[in-house]
């Protein structure tokens, strides 16, 4: 049973990583820049957070470096509807 759960959580993690975006909670952020500094492809994550926008950057690998390294828990993965804005 426990083993099943491990596989389950691994699968859901993968789903989140592939479908998810890095989203932010701007009010926790102090613009320290650890996120941008550690982004392997140089996305300015910090600027997205300042505008309280998800990191819906076409080059984002959802590798999770910024999420893991943020010292203030500003960033997380979440599924968002990237088309929502266009439909409005």
């Amino acid at each position: 049973m426990a083993l099943l759960n491990i596989f389950k959580s691994d699968a859901s993690k993968r789903i989140v990583l592939t479908r998810g975006h890095v989203v932010s909670e701007s009010s926790r952020c102090v613009q320290c820049g650890i996120c941008s500094y550690n982004c392997p492809i140089g996305i300015n994550v910090r600027a997205h957070v300042w505008r309280n926008e998800p990191v819906n950057h076409s080059e984002c690998l959802t590798c999770g470096e910024c999420v893991a390294r943020c010292p203030r828990g500003v960033l997380s993965f979440s599924e968002i509807d990237i088309f929502a804005r266009r439909e409005e």
Binding site: Q31, C32, G33, P71
Partner: protein, 436 residues
């Protein structure tokens, strides 16, 4: 129309953005004597630990500033001539303003101990201070840290990460006793000790000794002596009020402003650490030393300066920080009284956290995932989360909007209640009802 902003911190930048969002043509001038301009002050902690390079602390580049279309003047404002609507810069040049924002921040209170006028005694206000500390830590072997709150811990952890032997002096029997409870202080202290920090409880500085003009040893009140190459202090901060002393603007501990961030002069506004903002909900004027309120105050001040009447609504005091490696969120009212390690309010601190009404404490979790709730008659008044932050946002919303928790209040207070589960379930239904 000329807007002048004194100070290059987050309140100032936020004001520039707000003004530009409604006024494309007005002239904006920002003046600051900080040689580094706008950077992330809270980020200095992570520069000290070596997690980021100092160049990464600057959120904006030249192109970003050009888009905002404002002039930056390096200099120190020495006088405000209210009658003339003008400033004197560096004692000589004159600059006229139509609307003025004072956002000059706060600075560390001095260490008033015999012998403190020597080299090797450091504080953490500016990037200049942090760079100085990093330079000194290269050859220094041993450091003593005094003070409390977040900044003292940032110094302690930064110096330790730079390879120094660190002695942290605490006046009382535990760390940050007026915000953290006994268990939370213990968690932080234990983790510091695991990092190799040497804690000295019930310890107070008596005298500082030096050799060739550089600190060499400190003596404590109990006669104990500790050799050191550096003494770092964080005993509180004080709003920088020197500039407005002879202006006749109303002050208390900071510059008094109404809910529109306007001082007693209708053309002068103030925001950030230097401002003591009126809170219409409590009728009190409150000092905050937090990034997010400073940003919001700057925004509201900017809009009002540009003629868009907007009120500043103080949200529940809220700060996120890292204590000995643990992400910690402090929301609302969680403690009471004074911290004996501090003279004034701490940086990253809010006075709200100590105005504890009748509240009952419920607690759950273990070591790195810890949550403490302060429960009022019908709503939550405060919370501390250490480690896992999943419930941080829900708790912040529920505390700020005084959500009626009567349906789960009894269960929250049962011994060994699963408070995280109860809060999570309650949040789901409350969120639906309030359509958040």
């Amino acid at each position: 129309m000329r807007y002048v902003i004194i100070g290059a911190g987050v309140a100032g930048i936020s004001a520039v953005e707000a003004i530009r969002s409604v006024d494309n043509t007005g002239e904006i001038v920002m003046i600051s004597d900080d040689p580094n301009g706008y950077y992330s002050r809270p980020g200095l902690a992570y520069y000290l630990t070596g997690e980021i390079h100092d160049t990464a602390l600057f959120p904006r580049n030249k192109a970003d500033f050009q888009k905002l279309n404002f002039n930056f003047l390096r200099g120190r404002v020495t006088h405000i001539l209210r009658k003339d609507h003008a400033l004197i810069i560096d004692g000589k040049s004159r600059l006229a303003y139509d609307k003025l924002l004072i956002a000059v921040g706060a600075r560390a209170l001095p260490l008033e101990i015999p012998g403190s006028n020597v080299e090797g005694i450091v504080k953490l206000d500016h990037l200049v201070d942090a760079k100085n500390i990093v330079k000194m830590a290269k050859w220094g072997r041993s450091a003593v840290v005094v003070g409390g709150g977040i900044t003292a811990l940032e110094l302690t952890e930064g110096l330790r990460a730079r390879g120094m032997k660190v002695h942290y002096l605490l006046r009382g029997d535990r760390y940050w006793s007026n915000v953290l409870d006994k268990y939370e202080s213990e968690v932080v202290e234990k983790r510091l000790e695991e990092e190799g920090v040497i804690l000295h409880h019930h310890s107070e500085l008596k005298e500082i000794f030096s050799k060739r003009g550089h600190v060499s040893e400190v003596e404590l009140q109990d006669g104990k002596k500790i050799k050191c190459d550096m003494l770092a202090f964080a005993v509180g901060i004080r709003p920088c009020l020197e500039l407005i002393q002879d202006t006749g603007l109303a002050t208390d501990r900071g510059i008094l402003v109404n809910e529109h961030l306007q001082t007693t002069d209708p053309d002068i506004f103030s925001a950030g650490d230097v401002a003591q903002a009126f809170d219409p909900l409590t009728g009190k004027s409150i000092l905050d030393s937090l990034w997010d309120p400073a940003r919001e105050q700057g925004r509201v001040a900017g809009l009002n300066m540009a003629g868009r009447r907007t009120a500043y609504l103080k949200s529940a005091a809220f700060n996120v920080t890292r204590l000995a490696g643990l992400t910690t969120t402090i929301i609302g009212v969680v403690g009471r009284g004074r911290d004996e390690d501090m003279i004034g309010i701490a940086r990253g601190d809010s006075e709200t956290w100590r105005e504890l009404p009748e509240a009952i404490v419920a607690q759950s979790g273990f070591d790195i995932n810890h949550m403490r709730l302060l429960i009022g008659d019908s709503h939550l008044v405060g919370a501390i989360l250490m480690g896992d932050q999943t419930l941080s946002w829900p708790l912040q919303k529920m505390i700020a909007s005084k959500a009626d928790i009567s349906p789960i209040r009894e269960r929250l207070m049962e011994p060994n209640a699963k408070i995280a589960d109860l809060i999570a379930q309650f949040w789901m239904s409350w969120r639906k009802q309030t359509a958040l």
